[in-house]
Point group: D2
Chain length 299, copies 4
């Protein structure tokens, strides 16, 4: 296996639905083009933002196949695994690898607050059925289970695990992981509105949300930070922040999809039990977007 070199901006793509609540492949295709043109560095499908929890196994596999066959200009395709049983997670990993995914983003078990022993067993058991590289995804706020720097140190022995998406919203995790295992893992920021801080303490990548509507700005911030041009990065970031905050909270899917719709690069349609935003909620998002567009810098 060649060592993967994941870094940069990896959009967590939304799943577009038709009026009949089926996946809208045409819209997915247009969106892929839009992201590629902006210079993103990888693609993540079926994540939280992709409404993973409402997709059937068949739909998930269809997504993998679609992206695997699509022209991606060399970008890695990363497929999210978020399942409640070890059996389902393994079966999906095998099927997605066959369908052509380049790698995985792997979450701890859904719906069960597994302890350390159970969580690590689960992660190893899923990794065992694939030869693809895996980005471990830590999001204790949304999913309950917390992968600590100590856990990552233990997981470092498994060569499948190449990267970490850190969404604990605690920037201290980045230096703490590095202290334990150096540069063993490619560290990705997973929370849009603390990205600048994550880069300051050494993140090399950004699994981004608002990128789906504003890919150029997202990529530019990452580039400036990598170049050590933090003051310029902050200027752009400060402009972007009110939008980046929309990546936070239970309704981040609805909020980001509304921004996509308003920017003409997607639809606000979500799948139940999610409902579209109320008028008041939508108006707030529209206001934030309008304010941002008024002052949008040239990138």
């Amino acid at each position: 296996m060649t060592q993967v070199q994941w870094q940069g901006v990896f959009p967590a793509l939304t799943t577009k639905f038709t009026a009949a609540d089926e996946i809208d492949w045409e819209s997915m295709e247009r969106h892929l083009e839009f992201q590629l043109d902006a210079g993103v560095h990888g693609l993540i499908i079926l994540g939280s933002l992709g409404e993973n929890s409402t997709l059937s196994a068949a739909e998930k596999l269809a997504m993998v196949k679609f992206f695997a066959r699509a022209e991606r200009r060399g970008l890695p395709l990363i497929t999210t695994i978020a399942e409640s049983s070890t059996r389902d997670a393994r079966e999906f990993a095998v099927a997605a690898e066959e369908a052509g995914t380049d790698g995985f983003m792997l979450l701890p078990p859904m719906r069960y607050p597994s302890d350390r022993r159970e969580t690590l067993t689960f992660l190893h058991d899923v990794a065992a059925v694939t030869s693809r590289p895996i980005m471990l995804y830590n999001n204790p706020i949304a999913y309950g289970t917390d992968l600590t720097p100590d856990d990552f140190a233990r997981l470092a022995d498994n060569p499948r695990f190449e990267a970490i998406k850190e969404s604990a919203a605690d920037t201290r995790r980045f230096p703490e992981i590095r202290r334990r295992v150096g540069d063993r893992f490619a560290l990705f920021c997973g929370v849009d509105d603390i990205a600048l801080e994550c880069f300051a303490v050494g993140a090399v990548g950004w699994v981004a949300g608002l990128v789906v509507a504003f890919p150029r700005e997202t990529v530019r911030i990452w580039e400036l930070c990598q170049a050590g041009r933090i003051v310029e990065a902050r200027e752009l970031y400060d402009w972007f922040l009110p939008l980046l905050h929309l990546d936070i909270g239970p309704k981040f899917v609805q909020q980001i999809k509304l921004v996509e719709a308003l920017m003409g690069v997607g639809s606000a349609k979500v799948r139940a039990p999610r409902l579209q935003l109320t008028e008041a909620e939508a108006t707030r998002v529209e206001k934030i977007l309008a304010d941002a567009l008024e002052q949008r810098p040239v990138v």
Copy 2:
């Protein structure tokens, strides 16, 4: 539709697995007999204690069919609905009704922290596809979403909703629901180790956990409380409490299944990502059980 009369002790049955990780139907049958002999008043399948999150749709339906056909001596069969998408929840409700369930225990959406509007929409949308009575199940500690007394007041208009299993572990909920809608709902305690308190403030039923190993004691406590014999009830309850505490915490399934195994009425086998208890964890449970058996009162 005749008004249902749910009250009393309703065991939340565990799902027994064979060594090959398939459902152990023979064991399920023996266990059903054991519960019926002890005088329980209803049967709940596929709950949290039944490892709902690791069962496939086909397995869940097979469970419903099995219990629907079983001799239940007139006891109502209640099937748990715990799904991530509205579509899956509705499809399962329809299939389970066809398969012969008498009613449902319905949870808010899994994996998505829906707001009030979304939660209520979900509950009504699922109720709309069935003619069976529904017990609403509130467990914000395990599942994040909280159904408040105000929410239940709004849900009172839907005649499908007959009962409430309250697992917020806040006994104040019982009088608060009654204050809003009187005796509109049959109120069930859903937390083993505050059952006595729940009966003190008016619960008429108990969706119980340790009942799977100690059904006679569980039924007796309920009977004494209904008869206003609180001091006698407390004596038995105090004896039972160290065991009832095993119904609490992330590993309540493993703990209760171990007690079943040690009592010869089930197996400790759980399905991954759950793992069986470590030796230290198991020893603690064994000690609690041994202490309880030493002082077991005659019921």
Copy 3:
């Protein structure tokens, strides 16, 4: 030392202030009379409800002296110790004993989240300077530090500690303390709106809040529970509950003082940084009180 026999209803008295923000002794005297006439069983001064944190050392001592000299018809006077430094707590204990208090209610250190070793050391160090009986007060919700049943088991060796006021709002604590040390401590409920549940699991006393405005009803509920007449108790308790809820939350002092004022047995005046309720907040309390008075049962 004679064994104390604390049980029954112990009001946590409010501290009345004049327009000039001094203690209103006349009002305190009238209030004492009102409580005694209703048949309460003990008196607690300088508690949270007594605005302890805003009183100077001199004012606190003046309160002790006032109540020590007052005709109390044999009821025990219990003085709250809530200090930030061990030195201050000890000095106050010595002074209050000299001033004539019959006993103490003792909180863990204020403003410092002491660990178990520090908390127990503090409690023993304060107890060491007095010969009076002490009620330990556990309120992790308001004060951060939690005294667990295990802690109380360790504290049982110290003969100064006679009673426990449990305000963890977790009724499980009562049977758990009894399991460890039997009837070593007189157990008091410290949360008005779970009092009935506390009595169901064995509390023998009630450090009460709304009693300051409704002493007869409070005493009656306690008496009915002691007599095992739980159904009658629940009827009265259900009526009382909307008022008892006012004992909860950051503004319980303002809420209870407003009820006192509206009932003509006190004033709504609080000391800064507390401010009197806003109009909206006050209206809510007035409505709750009006509704309750409309249906007030004869006791």
Copy 4:
């Protein structure tokens, strides 16, 4: 009033005690010299790290007088106000100004979880009695009350409030305050182990803890960040981090004082209810310090 220009590293000084539990003035004097020699930019006394909650009013005033008279090479002396009653806070502010403090660090009320209206009233009421500039101190983790960016926007009208010490441990607060009121306030990081991130998002100062033992390193990190040399800053910061983590948690005072003692610049003595670290706790700190010293870079 001249506009103050607070920025840079402001140590939160510990209070040194003698064996007889009195303030150790000689030790305070030596420590002041040590800090001045390292090039810090301001001095804060009587903070949380200074064991404010265990000092008497007389001791606090003696501290102010001592530092007011000391040779401080032009550095501003900032005195912490952390009181439970508005009256005490105002009286102390007046006395400390008379005693010669240059400014204040002001906390919301202690021991009472005031709401927004009460908190803002308290802060304005205290500010009203002094002509000195004030640094508002937000630490919801330790003290419960949270001053949000919206609150700071409201407080911007009061010219007394010059600076903010942000200890919410949420770096998002910095850009959010700037968005609302631009550079109205000098923004200080108040949490040692997220300092680098705070500077990345625009903090101009650091109310520091470990600085009391490592002032040169602390100052150097700040200087590098101000110069935009984030990569060099990160190298030094990564070395410092295990020590900086000692600024976190309930025992940060004991931990930092132990480091001071081991470095020969202070004593580990704390005042009760705080107890010195247990042997196990101390060993952990000693190990962290030994590891750091082994790799200590030349600054």
